[in-house]
Amino acid sequence: MDSPSILSICFSAILTVFLILSVLAISIQIITRLFPFKQEKEDTTIYAAIVSSYSVIHPGTKITKIEEIK
């Protein structure tokens, strides 16, 4: 069998990259649906600490949301 041309090698490469990454994208979509993110319960101690600290710095401020960014 003749060795493939660079054109067909390159075509195979980009096609394979698209194929594998598409499979991964679809699989991850399924996985994230099967195992959805669940909001963890708020830690009341941390909540109280943040509210009290903030009220000292900015009196009268109302804390409506605390978000942890990892």
């Binding site: 990259v17 991850i28 195992f35």
Partner: protein, 375 residues
């Protein structure tokens, strides 16, 4: 007096030629860029110093000599040991959540590999490089240093120096290369697309991802397993939450040690007689072509996807440029560009990290395909 002349004739000074001086200048430029401009300093300083010592006549410090650097080269590059270990460290340092929270960005990482194939075809047909050499030149478009070194060491070891130099140079020049392309291919309206935050991903999904990806990619393209397998192993160490010591070692001292060895030995492959050729200039030029087309591919594919998305779900096409996998530089460049263009209203850093890390997987897969078909 004769003894002194004899001693001088045996010194390196007596053997320095014009080529050596040119290489000293190249080495000096790289070290200058690393220190003064902070362009990829962790790599350009070892590479620059490697070039310097490799071109000291009679010092036997080149990668193909019998000295210490030759020893590291034989044990670390020829055996394909070092690039996968770098990937292990990269896996530890990479957070795949932005990608998992917006899986469509996998496709942008794939589209941004288009420069690899265009440059490879161009190198083969326009400049007469062999297929193996052309593939190695093309992979520069992936903007992934370890992948370029991995592929070059297997397919065309004689091109290792210029290919690695081109890959790392263009990676460091992302802030200069990409903004004009972004400006040229996107409209003001497109740059102002403010994407909603990606959905949050559960711990279970984050843990399944490296195992699943490692298995699927390695089964599909076994020759990509050393890179993707190690990348995903590193990510599992990171996300498991129970291997803190391994995580610290792989993402800290280990990757640092390997970076020193890799940079030094790659730099030391660039001896004057091997590097100062027209072939090197062509490789650098084709590398730029590959990199430019990869950036364009990511942006244009994002625009293409937008044709099928409803108004509220459109993606900012600028994030496609981050698919070239120079992590995290490309994502940062997109963030800076879009933020400046929109007076700080739009900040797509996290969205751009998705295609950015997908690009790492994409370029490793492309390298695997080249290995499978050409080795």
């Amino acid at each position: 007096m004769d003894a002194l002349f004899n001693l001088f004739s045996q010194s390196g000074f007596a053997h320095i030629g014009l080529g050596h001086w040119i290489m000293f200048i190249i080495s000096g430029v790289l070290i200058y860029l690393a220190i003064a401009k902070e362009y990829e300093p962790l790599l350009l300083i070892p590479i620059g110093f490697g070039i310097l010592v490799a071109n000291l006549p009679l010092a036997e410090m080149g990668s193909h000599d019998s000295g210490i650097i030759g020893l590291i080269y034989s044990a670390g590059i020829k055996t394909e040991l070092l690039p996968p270990i770098i990937f292990l460290g990269v896996g530890v340092l990479t957070d795949f959540r932005p990608l998992l929270g917006r899986p469509i960005t996998f496709l942008l990482g794939a589209a941004a590999q288009v420069g690899i194939v265009l440059a490879a075809v161009g190198a083969a047909y326009l400049f007469g490089f062999s297929y193996k050499e052309a593939a190695v030149i093309g992979i520069i478009g992936g903007a992934d240093g370890p992948t370029s070194i991995f592929l070059a060491s297997k397919l065309a070891p004689h091109l290792l120096g210029p290919v690695a130099l081109a890959a790392y140079s263009y990676m460091s020049l992302v802030p200069i290369i990409q903004p004009p392309i972004l400006r040229m291919l996107t409209t003001r309206k497109e740059r102002a697309i403010d994407m909603p935050q990606a959905k949050r991903v559960s711990k279970t999904a984050v843990l399944i991802f490296p195992i699943f990806t490692g298995v699927v990619a390695s089964l599909a393209i076994p020759s990509s397993a050393p890179l993707i397998g190690m990348l995903m192993f590193g990510n599992l160490i990171r996300e498991s939450g129970v291997t803190d010591r391994l995580k610290k070692t792989a993402g800290g001292p280990m990757i640092d040690i390997v970076t020193i060895f890799l940079g030094l030995t790659v730099g030391a492959t660039m001896t004057a007689d091997e590097f100062l050729t027209t072939q090197t200039l062509l490789i650098l030029a084709m590398g730029a072509v590959a990199f430019t087309f990869s950036t364009m591919g990511g942006i244009l594919f994002a625009k293409f996807i937008n044709l099928f998305l409803s108004k509220g779900k459109k993606i900012n096409p600028c994030i496609g440029a981050a698919g070239v996998s120079a992590v995290p530089m490309a994502a940062r460049v997109v963030q800076t560009f879009v933020s400046e263009e929109t007076d700080g209203r739009v900040n797509p850093l996290m969205a751009a990290m998705g295609p950015n890390v997908a690009g790492v997987i994409g370029s490793a897969v492309a390298a695997g395909v080249f290995l499978s078909l050409l080795l």
